[in-house]
Amino acid sequence: MANQEGDHYISYLDQQGKYRGLLAWLLSTDHKRIGLMYFYVIATFFFIAVSLGLLMRTELIAPGETIMSPQTYNGLFTVHGIIMIFIIVIPGLSVVFGNFFLPILIGAKDVAFPKLNLLSFYLFLLGAIMAVLSQFLGDGPPDTGWSFYVPYSVESSTNVIFALTAAFILGFSSILTGINFIVTIHRMRAPGMTFMRMPLFPWSIYATAWIQVLATPIIGITLLMVVAERAFSIGFFDPALGGDPILFQHLFWIYSHPAVYIMILPAMGVVTEIFPTFSQKPVFGYTAIAISSLTIAFIGYFVWGHHMFTSGTSYFSRLFFSLLTFLVAVPSAIKVFNWVATMYGGSIDLKPPLLYAVGFIFLFMIGGLTGLIQGALATNIQVHDTAFVVAHFHYIIFGGMGFAAFAGIHYWYPKMFGKMYNIRFANIAWVVIFTGFNLFYFPQLVIGMQGMPRRYFDYLPQFKTGQVLSTIGSYILVTGLLMMLINLLATRKKGKTAPANPWKGVTLEWQIPSPPPLENFDIIPEIKRRPYFFGESKNEK
């Protein structure tokens, strides 16, 4: 049996091991402490990248130069992208909630390779620090955008090699984490927990881990090829030397499109845990959701060419990638229908985690449907490289992964820290964030459709209204984020003690005390049925 609430126990937060104080955290191999260290690092970088975004939005509040030079603007959007993509959204949910909750959800005491887990963290930290240092060292901040497209990334006189190396190291960390999670899921599930009895967040982590392991090496090699091209003029990508710039785009997107699924699959896993709990009802379509995670991971591996419709790829290739792009919408839609069906007829408790999860569906759907506009060959030409793409991307990544992250934080916060935040204040923060988000990004869909290019420091007068609305939206959004942060930080020290199971959840993490003890379970539980069993109901089989 698992630990029971009320039993005398020492939580992972208070556990004293070989080391004391800060070292006890920095050298800990406990999956929960490593998860929290990732959380703190990622949250810090998130607010740095948000600040950069805010500066960019302020620059765009009026046409012409407002608060910075064009070169500074180029540097800012590059670093904003590198931090957000490589440090926050790609590892984000997987390393924070994956580390913290994967072992608990499958009834294990830790991940399969705890020391490797700590190594992954330090590689991540090294890569993250290098990415930021690339701004200040060498010949100026890299100005290529996060996608490092050749030939510009080979020709730019800025500090590109340093940023490429940072991304390369972050990739290493990602691969090691992926291997760790795959082995953990295969080898360390509790007795009786077959794959079809495993909760759906571990399913999503499993699908994600395979992408991490199979796709990340390709970007690693590609980034090294750019470094070699810059240093030795080998001719991989330079046509003058017999190379092909489109080869870089192929190699880059072979990783970077599946990377979008590395970002979004764990997010889908998080909200899939939340819907049944706050509907007090088994998840609808368990098997369909589980299999659709793998299907998204598999099909998502073969759609990279839709980033290159205007790059001069062959017509046959464009047709192929367009078709597959539409196909990948099918398993995504299966998930959405199942989430809605899970809530249907349930006993809905509209607490902050569910608000963020419902917000996730709404924003993710806008992101997904605008993605189909770009997946169609004809309309893609119209919106390519415009603010429409920026808005679509942020609806998917921020509206999707970001809102799911906020949902997860509000869902699992009482478990992670043993404290309960102010629910009323969290609800108000959600309203502010949701409003700010849409005011921020929706105008960009419109001005993008009208022809506003992305990554431009300046704009024509007809785009001013949209740009101003967008900037005001960004200020509202950041206000909401600060409200959320203050609520959580204040609770961390002075909040009320949270019960072991404040949401009446039924998965394993809610069967142990809050915060969990060092090795999670005194005795590994035996699993006898599928997860999400809230008592007899018509959906339970």
Binding site: L214, H250, I254, G305, F320
Partner: protein
């Protein structure tokens, strides 16, 4: 130890495979002299794949592993092959 017994491979086998790998390397260099057009890359990848298969099966002991592991590794290579084929189809039809 049973596991070690199943992995035991004679030095002679290793030597033969090594010679085979060197021969295939020589072959891959030699075929670059033949003008095969679009198939030059395909042939080079085919020879490389055969070499990889030998290394995996003999040096990395995959041939003595269970079926699941063999299928998992094969699946990864099929995936990788598909990615390369799709990429080169773009070049072929451009």
């Amino acid at each position: 130890m049973k596991n070690q017994e199943t992995h035991s491979t004679g030095y002679l086998t290793y030597a033969i495979v090594l010679i085979g790998l060197l021969a295939l390397t020589t072959l891959s260099v030699a075929v670059t002299g033949i003008h095969l057009g679009a198939f030059t890359v395909a042939l080079a990848l085919l020879i490389a794949s055969i070499k990889v298969a030998f290394v995996l099966a003999v040096f990395m002991h995959l041939r003595s592993e269970n079926l699941f592991l063999k299928l998992a590794v094969a699946g990864v290579f099929v995936l990788f092959a598909l990615v390369i084929i799709i990429t080169f189809f773009d070049y072929l039809f451009r």
